[in-house]
Symmetry: C2
Subunit: 245 residues, 2 copies
DNA sequence: CGATACTGCGAACACTGTTCTCGGTTATGG
DNA sequence: CCATAACCGAGAACAGTGTTCGCAGTATCG
């Protein structure tokens, strides 16, 4: 009864909609081409540069034509995210040590984030998980298989935490890497101004890069890769023994 | 020489621009009113519902008028985020136990996230830290003061990780809470279809809610608040001893 | 051989953020 | 004390956005 009003937009998710129908002429373009064009635009100008019109122009056609391949701009973003996920190498053999395996996975994921900064701009509101995202999850769960302290859903949550951590650390890395845009230079200028105004001594010390607490030296840790150290710490907490309440 | 081309938009960050000039008539509205209207719209219809025109309509004026109070839509979002941050109670006394204090702070932060789901939609691309955000940081650093194992910048990173964790857990909580919108019901339907197609046994088990590993029962943990348990685990890793490489 | 379902796409609609401009209002410097 | 410079409100307009409609053409099924 309710399947007549909405028929074309019913299989709401891109991956379940067939790439092309069986009746008409062969499509001149493919979803892969749309995705590639969109990713190219995003790599160059951020996620905001990915507009239906721009992608269409890139493919030498009009905006309306894209709607034969995709239900809307959101689908385009879904395709982009999955394409980026596909760049994470999942053929690396597992060693059986969950921490080591997940550290490696995290590092490879970060490389993708650094290559496609727009990944940080896509809102994590609704989890967008395509075929490659599913493979990614399965791989992470395989790495987590030796861990007996976590239930199935608990492992999924751990993977989610790990992904959020990688995203956050990638954002930090990107900020230090690129020359500061107008926005963030203004932000740090504001922070400097605020701490100079006084009233936030600990923040002032932290921003000055000073050591912890009361400036007591001696407990220096030379540190390897800070990214890896951070991931190790969090993983230790995630997979380790139950902490006391 | 370069200070003549751009003069009005020079103090790029909202907080450094004076609320009103000293010469003309008194403004009929205030930034506070703009912010309140914007937050109201976002609470009701998500961040996308916050358009310059809608906010103007809410205040009974035209779109152009808002630009007397704000340099653009981005500034509006900055104000909104800071207003939300202000809802986190920072007058709770610290106990001296960093873990307990940060768990409490995280819980209060999550409450704000649940009250203002649009916070998850604002891209963490450029860190938007206003006056209340600065106070928030200072408070978190005060809670971290007893921790000697972390340097100043290290503590800031720990706070960032904690915030990312809270955001992620809030997203999960929100998904279970509200009735699924079209998007996410389609997503989970897709996931179900994929695991039904086979080839992802571990994901299938995890989604089925089954226990870990090979389904070996007995190691049940009743768990208190899952949010608090998760935060405790991560904090234990963040503040605990250096894990072995 | 229709009938049917598809593809491509020009045109249009309802939005969006932002700027220009102008008339009226206020405080300040001479 | 007044002229001038700085400011406020807001209508009009511009460029750009996502999306829908409708129509000509084309390939496949019954």
């Amino acid at each position: 009864m309710a399947d007549k009003a909405d028929r074309a937009t019913e299989a709401v998710v891109v991956w379940e909609r067939p790439e092309r129908g069986a009746r008409g002429p062969a499509p001149e373009r493919s979803r892969e081409q749309l995705t590639a064009a969109a990713v190219g635009l995003a790599d160059a100008g951020g996620l905001a540069a990915v507009s239906v019109r721009q992608v269409a122009r890139e493919l030498g056609t009009g905006p309306a034509s894209l709607y034969r391949y995709v239900a809307g701009r959101d689908d385009l973003v879904d395709l982009m995210v999955d394409a980026a996920t596909a760049e994470v190498d999942l053929d690396v053999e597992l060693t059986g040590d969950p921490v080591a395996d997940l550290v490696g996975l995290a590092a490879r994921t970060q490389q993708v984030h650094l290559r496609h900064p727009w990944l940080l701009e896509v809102a994590p509101e609704a989890l967008r998980t395509g075929p490659r995202g599913v493979d990614y999850l399965e791989y992470a769960l395989r790495a987590l298989e030796p861990v007996a302290a976590l239930t199935g859903p608990g492992k999924l949550e751990a993977v989610a935490v790990l992904n959020a951590l990688v995203a956050m650390l990638s954002a930090v890395e990107l900020r230090t890497r690129r020359s500061p845009t107008g926005r963030q230079s203004a932000q740090s200028a504001y922070l400097d101004a605020v701490v100079a105004r006084g009233g936030h001594p600990l923040l002032a010390a932290a921003l000055a890069g000073g050591a912890a607490g009361a400036g007591r030296p001696g407990t220096e840790s030379p540190a390897g890769d800070p990214f890896e150290r951070m991931v190790r710490r969090v993983l230790a907490g995630l997979l380790g023994p139950e902490p006391p309440a």
